[in-house]
Symmetry: C2
Subunit: 217 residues, 2 copies
Amino acid sequence: MTPTITAFAHSPDGGRGLARDMRVRWALEEAGQPYSVRYLSFADLKEPGYYAQHPFGQIPSYEEGDLVLFESGAIVLHIAQQHAQLLPEDPNARARGIAWMFAALNSIEPPIWEWTMATVLESDQSWYEQRQHILQERVRARLEQFSRRLGQADWIEDQFSVSDLLVITVLRILKESTLLAEYPNLSAYVARGEARPAFKRAFAAQFAAFTGQVPAD
Amino acid sequence: MTPTITAFAHSPDGGRGLARDMRVRWALEEAGQPYSVRYLSFADLKEPGYYAQHPFGQIPSYEEGDLVLFESGAIVLHIAQQHAQLLPEDPNARARGIAWMFAALNSIEPPIWEWTMATVLESDQSWYEQRQHILQERVRARLEQFSRRLGQADWIEDQFSVSDLLVITVLRILKESTLLAEYPNLSAYVARGEARPAFKRAFAAQFAAFTGQVPAD
């Protein structure tokens, strides 16, 4: 059954693949699973019908027959549980892989997201420069820890998994800042993810949507 | 095999059960699974040996034979996968339950955590009052959405699950503010969780640790 995901009709990221549908598209491409996309305006997100599908009125949601899911992390985990190769089969390695999925979204993303949102929402505030410094230091603290853990390895565990997929989509938020470049092993790790054919297909699909070449469902 | 978790030797929350070991203790109590606790000082968290166990130097970690896990959400999910009753058995309901686990930690906790941290870390800054207002409005936006979704139901789905466990531990961060009380159905939901015998046992255990009556391992 072909799943349907939701995505922004006009993504605020300018087609850079930073919206959270990118995570789900990439996982589906790694799985070789075709999918449809329902594109939503910001007004659509606030419709009661969509709240029934996504209680926080965000993208992406995921529909597959009777199943409706929200939260990009949960959707990616669901996809990984339906398709081999996206998480290790050994139970302990699989549990560790899931721990890294939570880590991507709960330990690595929050300081990055907080900093990014401040650059957008607080740029006209008197405290902007002072808070930017504080927030960047928090981002660096997390990057330093993850950089040390990754070392010179290609991926978090022996094989690429959805743990890497989520961490890389989170680190990509920093691509246009100088922060990521301070950690050459992390820059290389992100580039390694972006070089995967599945990433490229997912990126092209969301970019086509942004440029208005939305494929018909 | 009795798992061992780590917790703060001196919790900064004053024994209110807001540190993240509480989530894991509660899940283990719901599962009827005995456990040991290794108490760590803040200095212990920064030891290289502990970084090998927890890449971000935080509590809790979880050891069970060869398996070492970190991230409270991932640990709670692992416990739920080992014990019946903590997540629905029906695959679709189970996937939705996991989506709510991610939602607790990625959609509900971030604005609450950002606000709480600001009350602690920014109280002497010139921008304190102005940002408090902004942050409280973000918290309200999420509480409003979750309040609407929960309605007058006892739990998110028909039965209590670890989805409720994580959401309630996140909402408890707000207990001593007036924000939670603005949503009577959410206050009642938190109280319903706190009334569960497993919650009470977990709370008592972390409180005993805080008061110095640490049980010997």
